[in-house]
């Protein structure tokens, strides 16, 4: 299987590494939320140019470096690895720049006071990526790139209740 040297990618991005990570993250979220898109990308019969065009259209005029990254991943036939590589790149950037990259998912838009509260929990310099997911019903979920995760959502509590009822 072909490989992408993420350290080399980080070095090439220079002071745009965090922006590149952000773009990679956006691409990852797009794929995670759209199973059919993943199936489309993984189909080797579909021409590479069609795949590149679709991703560019869906990302709505992405920055040049993200287009270059997409082209590289598709040319190297790494479509199946995009999500994994994106996670690894986030971890690398987080480590190199000593910043916590945190995905916070909530059922309602996060208020400023809530955001500050979550930041205070993280203690270190952090960058929050806010995601909305009404299926959480309430509360929040937190995932630090390459680190811990916390499920303080209502959905999580209901899942725990379900488990407790089954194991009772």
């Amino acid at each position: 299987m072909k490989q992408v040297n993420l350290n080399r990618l980080y070095d090439l991005a220079g002071n745009k590494a965090l922006e590149l990570e952000e773009g990679f993250y956006t691409l990852r979220k797009l794929l995670e939320k759209n199973f059919n898109l993943m199936v489309f990308l993984e189909n080797s019969l579909i021409p590479k140019e069609q795949k590149k065009k679709l991703l560019k259209d869906l990302l709505k005029s992405p920055p040049k470096f993200l287009i270059e990254l997409i082209n590289l991943l598709i040319d190297e036939e790494l479509e199946k690895e995009i999500i994994k590589l994106s996670h690894e790149f986030s971890e690398l950037v987080s480590k190199k720049q000593k910043i916590k990259l945190v995905e916070v998912t909530t059922a309602f838009p996060l208020e400023d006071s809530e955001k500050k509260g979550i930041e205070s929990l993280l203690k270190e310099k952090s960058l929050l990526r806010l995601q909305l997911d009404p299926s959480l019903l309430g509360g929040f979920k937190l995932k630090v790139a390459g680190g811990l995760s916390l499920d303080a959502s209502l959905k999580g509590k209901l899942n725990k209740l379900r488990e407790d009822l089954i194991n009772a």
């Binding site: 309602f108 379900r162 009772a168």
Partner: protein
Amino acid sequence: MAFLEKRENSIADSLKDAANKQKEAEHLLHDYRSKLAEAQANAEKMLKEVKNEGEKLKLEIINNAEKQAEVILKKAEQDLSREKEKIFTEAKNQIADLVVSATSKLLEKSFNKEANHKMIIESINEASKS
């Protein structure tokens, strides 16, 4: 006189012959009786053996049947126990699903922004303590 002597000898011979034949007959009778007794003893022995074999076979059949019954019973008990466990697990899953589904529906209606804010702040406070 010669005639009489001859006649006397003939009678004596006849008597001797008759005595011999009687002896022979007696001997034969004794032989038959012995053989009959032997045959009876053999028949009794064979009957006894057949009876014993039959008894052994009967016990074997009963033992096998008991063993088979035991195996069938044990399997039936295991099947029943598994089935009970399966039904119990399914029932628990269904109850848990019902409880969670009903609670979710209730929360979807009643859980508002204020309740959400309270929950987030409480979770943050709780997490900061641990």
